[in-house]
Every structure is written in C-alpha cells, then in structure tokens.
C-alpha cells in the first residue's frame, strides 16, 4: 500500500511508501498516529500547520462485513484537541482498492481560489473549482456523479465548511447517492480552511487488497459475518427499527436528556420513537433498512419520506432525533426529518447543532418546542453565513458565550449526546474522559448500563462505571482502527468466537500473530497518543469534567453526577 500526500501550499502531490511502523495501523489508529507525528499540537486548526487525514480501516475492501467505515482526523477547531470522526459511505473501500492507506492533506493555498482533488490509481489531480462553491452537499454529490459517473466516490463540505464553522462536517456519498457524514469536531471547517470543496474518488484499475493468507481470512470472515447476523441486536433490532429504537428505552429508564437535560423523560417520546418511525416509513413507502456502505449486513439506515412520499432524509439516527426532539422539546418527527436534511445539506453536525439550538432556547432566541424556528435558523442564518448564523454554526460553547448562557451541555466544547450522564453513569465517564470531547461512540457504556449487552452494570450506581468505560474506550479505539462499524461490538462483546474471528482476520490479512493482548495494546496506544496530543495542546485534567449543572438532580430518579474527579483522573491511566 502507499500514502498519497497532497500539499495545498504548493499545489503538489507525492506518493510515499508506508513506513513499517504504520503497517498494522488503519482508520483511527492511523489518523491519530499521523496527526500526533506530524501536527504541532499548539497550532491553529485553520492554519497551514494542521493536516487533514483520511484513512480506511485495516479491513476495508475485504469480505469482512461492515468494514467500510472511513476515519478522518485533524486537530479539531471545535474541541481544540485531536479528532477522529468516522463515516460510512463509499470512500473508504475505494481508497483501499486504490491501495491508499492514507490520504494526507497539508498546507493551505496562498491565494483565495478554491480547489477540488480527484483521487485515482496514478495519484491525484488538484483543480480549481468555481461551479459548486456556495452549494449544499446534495447538489455537490449529484453534480459530481453526473460529471464523473455513478461509480465515483465523493467527500464534500457544504456551506458551513466553506465558512469554517466549528460544527461543519465532511459528507460522504453513500451507495444510494445520498450522504453519510464524518460529523463531529468540525473537520469540514478544516477542509474548508484548505479551500477544498470536494474530493472525488475513482477506483478503476486500483491495485486491490493484499491478503497474506486468503483461506484463513475467508474462514474467519465467515464466522464474523454469521456472528453479526446471529446477534439479536445487529441481526434483528437494528435492521428493523434503526438506532432510534433507543428513544423509548432511554425514556423509560429516565436517561433521555430532555429540555437541555432538565428531565430524564420526554412526554412526546412515543411520537418520535423508533417504533413510530418504522410505521411511518412503511406507510409512506420509504425504505426501512439499508446499509451505509457496500458489505454492511446490519443495515440500520433507512429512507424517510415526507407526507407526499418524496425523499426527505436517510441515515436518520437516534442522536439526531433525540437532540432536536427531546433535547429541544420538539415532538414532530417530520420537522425533525426536515432539520436533519438541512443539516446534511448545509454540512453541520446534527448533535452539535442540536446542542446549539438548546443553548439558543436558553437564550430565548427560540421557544422550547419550536421545530420550525430551528429549521428557519439553519436555512436563513447558518446556510447564509449571517452574523447570527456564524455564531450558531460555531457550536454550543460559542453560542453560550455570545448570549451569556450558563447551561451549556458540552465537554471540551462538544455536545453531550442522547444519554444523560447522571442516569447512565457509565456514559458520563466516557463523556468526561475521552480525548474526543463528549462522544457516546468513544466508549458506549450504554450497552452494559441499559441494553444489557456485554454484561450488566446498574446505570444509577457509581460502582463499576470507570472500569466499564475504560475497557470500552480501549476496545473502541481498536474497532475504530479496523474500519469496522461500531455496531459490530454487540456481537464482539457477547460472542467470544466473533472476537476471535476479528483477531484471526488481522493475522490472516497482515501476516502477524496477534493475541488479545495485542488487540488491547492497540487500543491503549491510540488513546495514549491522543491524550498526549491534547496535553501538548493545553488540556489538563480539569478539561475531563462534566458541566456544572450535572450536580443538579435529574428526575425521575433524582440522579446526580457523583463520580469523583480523582476517579475520573485514573480512567485512562495505563
């Protein structure tokens, strides 16, 4: 494999050999390694010293199911720390087929021109772009598909990325021509700072995937794939209801953050839950289940149509529906679907935009429950880059400062997602301690706290939460390095043979002899370099804390955040 390196200061390109130490790194492990080795932690995220790295995972392009996630890394303008955000879509497998282990973009243009990068088997072409400037992600994807053909991968930024807003994401074309996003941390703004509107990928005649022991790999992949289908969560619940099946269970458990985390239950939950969404999709002849990338057999995505049966949105996730729904007290699934569509098109993260809207409601820019008002702020202000839009587009902390709001639901500048840390304490430990800023996917303690997958730890008690979060953060850092979808974890945690099959696939593909210890070491290594980057960027243990309002009791269980600072400080000490 090889490294494609693009220098936007010189508008030049080089192909490099993969350093040996990067051989068994992929996905997050590789993006975080490259950022750690090559980016000054003290740099301005929008300056020429920051780099944007795209890396497929270790298994991308193979027969392993659900292995097509793309990792994107940089220093984050939202958190000020290291960031890896991953996405579905068709880009990771194209990079893998081209033999590209990482695409590194460095420098920034000296002029005001905007560019596009076309990636192909012989390298890249850097071209000036004018036509699609100011356009949304859907139009970019449709235009590039007609310009280069159906079989072209696209990674693009919307207007928000062009404005360098800290909630801007990078969107990736999915197999249906819709989009998925590397949502968190403002990586779209980093792409915008380098004046790249989109990257297109042509994998024709790529060198393909090298597998040292093909038979051994295929045997392990078979066990892995069957394990995903056998597990009731990945085999049945996720395909049928999508991730929004969680709405009702968090509501029942009293852990659904409602009205900017004032309550743990939302009266309107049934109107926006996964069961209602499923029935609505069926009634409107949408699509209840499809994958976000080729080879996905969990298929948690869906197509949600409007009342007239026309396409409205897809990849309509629980966190999005929670954020604009319970978080903002909106109980209308259609309006939330419209908001999701607009966020995708403008190119802003739905979780951080929802957090921003909660802060906007605290500031009385909007009334609680005003879904149309949220939509209007996105369409009229953020999309147009008005002064108010630029405040909102920079996220909850920025908006909170602008309007003097105290109750801002963030850690390291990033919004706490759809599980209240007081009522689901294991996820609170993850929010506080992950190097990523509040991020449920970094160590999904909800699995053992609420879903009873991978063990059972009472969500309302302190005991066992630190160990749970630590173990999951380590496992997740490894999973994120393989390019496997995080939803494989349900089967990996519950079925030992599925976990062993993952090790067997690594060993077969790369000709190594990894044990469970090597797997854990990879996770610990990734977390260690990420924490070290953040330390050099100026983070201290005081940044590993939840917002002050979590000392207030949240109904119905009157739970408070009671895990001590000393305990948090030990979570990721290896």
């Amino acid at each position: 494999m090889k490294i494609y390196r693009v220098n936007m200061s010189k508008l030049s390109f080089s192909i490099e050999d993969v350093p040996e130490r990067w051989n068994t790194l992929g996905g997050r492990g590789l993006t975080s390694t490259i950022i750690s080795e090559e980016v000054d932690p003290a740099c301005n995220p929008f300056g020429s010293k920051n780099k944007l790295v795209f890396a497929p995972g270790l298994f991308a392009g193979t027969k392993a199911a659900n292995s097509g996630r793309l990792s994107v890394g940089a220093k984050s303008p939202l958190t000020g720390g290291i960031k890896e955000s991953n996405s579905g879509g068709t880009a990771a497998q194209r990079l893998a087929k081209l033999g590209v282990k990482a695409l590194i973009i460095e420098g920034m243009p000296k002029d005001d021109k905007w560019y596009t990068i076309h990636v192909h088997k012989d390298g890249v072409n850097i071209k000036e772009e004018t036509e699609l400037l100011g356009k949304g992600n859907y139009e970019v994807i449709h235009t590039i598909t007609s310009r280069y053909g159906e079989n072209t991968g696209v990674m693009t930024i919307g207007q928000a990325g062009e404005y360098k807003m800290s909630t801007a994401n990078i969107s990736v074309k999915d197999p249906k021509g819709h989009l998925r996003s590397a949502g968190r941390g403002g990586l779209g703004a980093v792409m915008g700072s380098k004046h790249i509107k989109f990257i297109s990928l042509d994998d024709n005649d790529g060198e393909g995937i090298e597998i040292k022991d093909k038979k051994k790999f295929d045997d392990a992949a078979k066990i892995f794939n069957q394990g995903l289908l056998k597990h009731p969560v990945s085999g049945e619940a996720l395909p049928k209801y999508g991730s929004n099946v969680l709405m009702n269970i968090l509501n029942e458990a009293g852990g659904l953050p409602t009205k900017n985390s004032r309550m743990g239950r939302f009266e309107g939950a049934e109107k926006i839950c996964g069961e209602t969404m499923h029935d609505t999709i069926v009634e409107r002849h949408g699509d209840t289940t499809h994958g976000c990338h080729v080879g996905c057999i969990i298929r948690c995505s869906q197509t949600y149509n409007d009342k007239d049966g026309s396409y409205l949105t897809s990849g309509f996730e629980y966190e999005t529906i929670w954020g604009f729904g319970a978080g903002c007290m909106v109980d209308d699934l259609d309006i939330i679907a419209h908001i999701d569509h607009e966020c995708d098109d403008v190119g802003i993260d739905t979780i951080d935009t929802a957090g921003t809207m909660m802060v906007a409601m605290e500031a009385e820019l909007l009334k609680w429950g005003d879904g149309e008002g949220i939509l209007n702020l996105i369409e009229s202000e953020i999309k147009s880059g008005t002064p108010l839009g630029r405040i909102l587009g920079n996220g909850p902390d920025f908006t909170g400062k602008a309007y003097g709001v105290l109750r801002v639901p963030t850690v390291k500048g990033q919004t706490m997602p759809a599980y209240d840390p007081r009522a689901v304490k294991g996820i609170g430990v993850t929010y506080a301690t992950t190097p990523m800023g509040a991020d449920h996917t970094a160590g999904y303690s909800v699995a053992a706290n609420i879903l009873k997958v991978g063990g059972s730890v009472d969500p309302l008690k302190k005991e066992g939460q630190s160990e749970l979060s630590r173990d999951l953060q380590i496992a997740t850092a490894s999973i994120d390095s393989t390019g496997l979808c995080l939803f494989v974890s349900f089967a990996v945690l519950d079925f030992d043979e599925v976990f062993i099959s993952v090790l067997d696939m690594i060993n077969a593909q790369y000709g190594v002899e990894w044990t469970k210890d090597d797997w854990n070491n990879m996770g610990e290594y990734v977390l260690t370099i990420e924490k070290e980057f953040n330390r050099k960027a100026g983070f201290t243990k005081n940044d590993d804390r939840l917002p002050e309002f979590t000392s207030e009791a949240i109904p119905p269980h009157d739970a408070v955040w009671d895990i001590s600072d000393e305990e948090l400080d030990k979570v990721l000490q290896f």
Binding site: K240, G242, S243, V245, L246, T441, Y444, V446, F487
Partner: protein, 74 residues
Amino acid sequence: MEVNVKLFATLRDGRFKEEKANINENTQVSDVISKYNIPKEEVKICLVNGRDADLNQTLKNGDTLSLFPPVGGG
C-alpha cells in the same frame, strides 16, 4: 391491584403499547409476562418504574412495568 404494562419494539406485535393490568398481590414480573403470552426468552430488558428489575421481582400497586426485546443502537 393495578399495574401499568408497557411493551416495546417487536413485543408490541399482535399485543399493545400500554395497558393497565389487574393483578393479585405477590404477582411477579414473570407472571405478567406469562399472562400476555410473551416467551420469556424474548424479554431482554425489564424495568419497574424505570429501574432494572428481574423476572422474580414482586410488583406493587401502581408500578409501571416496561418490557423490551434485545435492542441496541448508538
């Protein structure tokens, strides 16, 4: 006495979303599950008043029982 029974996801198929159930004293969670012909192996998560409960927990008047099959997301 009366308890509020709430079913979710596939447990709703052919049953209901929410129903008040009249039960005798000393009724356990598993008795309610049997009353509605729900196979025990289909119930993965069981909450009484929003807290983890097991199948042999005894219900009290006014309790809310929430039952889920295996579900996940994130």
